[in-house]
């Protein structure tokens, strides 16, 4: 680990102001950052610890949603009775991620900001445009079983590893931030994470020194909520494909569907064209097929991850069948 100085922040705005300094980095749960620091993938010269800031509450909003503080631990968010009752897709997604020990430490904001698990990003001896812009992408012609099939670029085919963020994408969550001047901003989750394009090192729309204070969930949408995660192990593994689905249907007819996917792209992937195919459609193989084709429009495998295309199709079928059973 490279040497750094350590300080504790006393307000969110002061933490944001301190984080503007080159080499400064915010630490919350630290489960991803310290892992990367040990490998010298991350080499901050200053750590700003925000763990003692009062951002660990889950509050009801006047609109009937929930406001989740940036420092609410993943396990606490998953176990919150209101989340379990009204946002089951989020509770399930959180419980599908990592291990219990990690969920006890990992925070809401840190989960959104976690880095990719691409093997080449982790291996400092290999080229990686995300870690070292301009050095190339070793995954394109390398081992790419876990990599993206949607929204990729010639510069990066990494995926975003979060389960939580996929559920939040389906729920149309909003990310609240503050900067060093104390100015607040709200970023819809759809605009929070970015596709890699030519600058895969820029992963979010956060500006320098802007920190997350909360994530708000709108009132719970109607319908059945499901989070399905397909992975190499039954537990404690990243998704190869995951689906967050919120489907409102009755007697074999779908009123509306929201679909977000993990393991497929550089950001939690929402599929509005697929949702359109399902709106006011009969719940049957024809509509499920049309939806899957719409999700996979433009999908491209890179050899090792070609299987993700049929896997996504089958997983979506299964999830749609489950959510429209009644």
């Amino acid at each position: 680990m490279k040497a750094f100085t350590y300080q504790r922040a006393d307000t969110p705005a002061r933490a944001a102001a301190a984080a503007v300094k080159p080499g400064a980095k915010i630490i919350a749960g630290g489960t991803n950052l310290l892992d990367l620091m040990k490998l010298q993938v991350e080499t901050p010269s200053q750590l700003i610890d925000i763990n003692r800031l009062p951002l660990d509450k889950i509050e009801e909003t006047p609109e009937g949603g929930l406001r989740v503080g940036a420092l609410v631990r993943n396990s606490d968010l998953a176990a919150d009775p209101r989340v379990r009752q009204h946002y089951g897709v989020l509770s399930r997604a959180l419980l599908a991620g990592a291990s219990a020990q990690l969920r006890n430490k990992a925070t809401t904001s840190g989960n959104l900001l976690q880095r990719t698990r691409c093997y080449y990003f982790y291996d400092v001896t290999k080229p990686c445009n995300k870690r070292n812009p301009g050095s190339g992408c070793a995954a394109l012609a390398g081992f790419n079983r876990i990599h993206a099939i949607l929204g990729t670029s010639d510069h990066c085919i990494a995926t975003h590893p979060s389960d939580m963020a996929v559920a939040m994408r389906a729920l149309d969550a909003k990310v609240e931030t503050v900067n060093g001047e104390g100015e607040a901003r709200v970023i819809p989750i759809a605009e929070f994470h970015r596709l890699p394009g030519k600058t895969p090192e820029i992963e979010t729309s956060l500006k320098s020194g802007e920190i997350i204070t909360a994530v708000t969930l709108p009132p719970p949408p109607p319908g059945v909520q499901v989070y399905r995660k397909v992975r190499d192990r039954a537990s404690y593994a990243f998704a190869l494909v995951s689906v967050a689905a919120i489907v409102d249907s009755a007697r074999g007819r779908i009123r509306s569907a929201r679909l977000a996917f993990g393991g497929l792209a550089h950001k939690p992937w929402r599929a509005p064209q697929a949702e359109e195919k399902l709106a006011d459609a009969a719940a049957n193989t024809t509509s499920f097929n049309a939806a899957a084709s719409a999700v996979l429009d433009g999908a491209r495998g890179f050899g090792g991850n070609d299987f993700k295309i049929p896997l996504t199709r089958r997983t979506l079928h299964s999830v749609l069948a489950e959510t429209t059973r009644t």
Partner: protein, 217 residues
């Protein structure tokens, strides 16, 4: 004593269970080097930081390189070697300890981040000569072979039982709205998935935890 006679250290199963002391002999590595993890450059160390940790009911004031993980602080600065370093990346669970009663990976957190907090390690679970119910159950059910993961398994199980009693659901909980999910074998396996056992003593670990789940702590 014959110089050729091999030195033997008797480690009973009870010693392993009580203190996790399979690595009884502390290495002679310089503290700074070990505590900071791998660092192959010769940059000067950062200014030290001070933290007061309440470990197993005792207060310890430590002055540390801020890079020191909680695991290294326990093992290398306080000689509490029960918590084990397996992968050092949060993947194996051998370093599991309880902070304010909640289980975490001590390898993925800095000691200075826990100033003033209360930490329980495997060394703090037994009460005098009375083993913690989980320790007794691991002995009874033979919940280990080599023992390296055991202290992490037991600390993790202690945290897991507390989570379960407080109504925490898991990924395999069928009905999330049920306030108190039943602790089935499938639930125990899912909830313990952050602790890897290379010897694959899993069936006996599940049996031990199941037994301890019914006993008061």
């Amino acid at each position: 004593m014959d110089e050729n006679e091999p030195t033997t250290i008797e480690i009973t199963r009870r010693t392993v269970i009580e203190t996790g002391t399979t690595a009884l002999l502390l290495t002679g590595l310089p503290r700074g080097a070990l505590a900071a993890g791998s660092s192959d450059d010769n940059e000067p160390p950062p200014p030290p930081a001070t933290a007061t940790l309440q470990i197993n009911g005792r207060s310890h004031v430590l002055t540390l390189d801020p890079r020191t993980t909680l695991l290294d602080a326990l093992r290398e600065h306080l000689a509490l070697t029960g918590s084990k370093k397996g992968c050092d990346h949060g993947q194996c669970g051998a370093c599991t300890v309880l902070i304010e009663g909640r289980r975490i990976n001590s390898c993925l957190t800095l000691a200075v981040m826990h100033d003033g907090q209360s930490i329980t390690t495997i060394e703090g679970l037994a009460e005098g000569d009375n083993l913690h119910p989980l320790q007794a159950a691991f002995v009874e059910h033979d919940g280990f072979q080599c023992g390296y993961c055991t202290s992490g398994q037991i600390c993790s199980a202690a945290g897991m039982l507390a989570e379960s009693r407080s109504g925490m659901p898991s990924y395999v909980t069928e009905d999330l709205t049920r306030p108190q999910p039943e602790l089935t074998d499938a639930e125990i396996r899912e909830r313990m998935s952050g602790n890897i056992c290379r010897c694959a003593a899993y069936p006996n670990i599940v049996a031990a935890i199941k037994q301890a789940a019914w006993m008061p702590t």
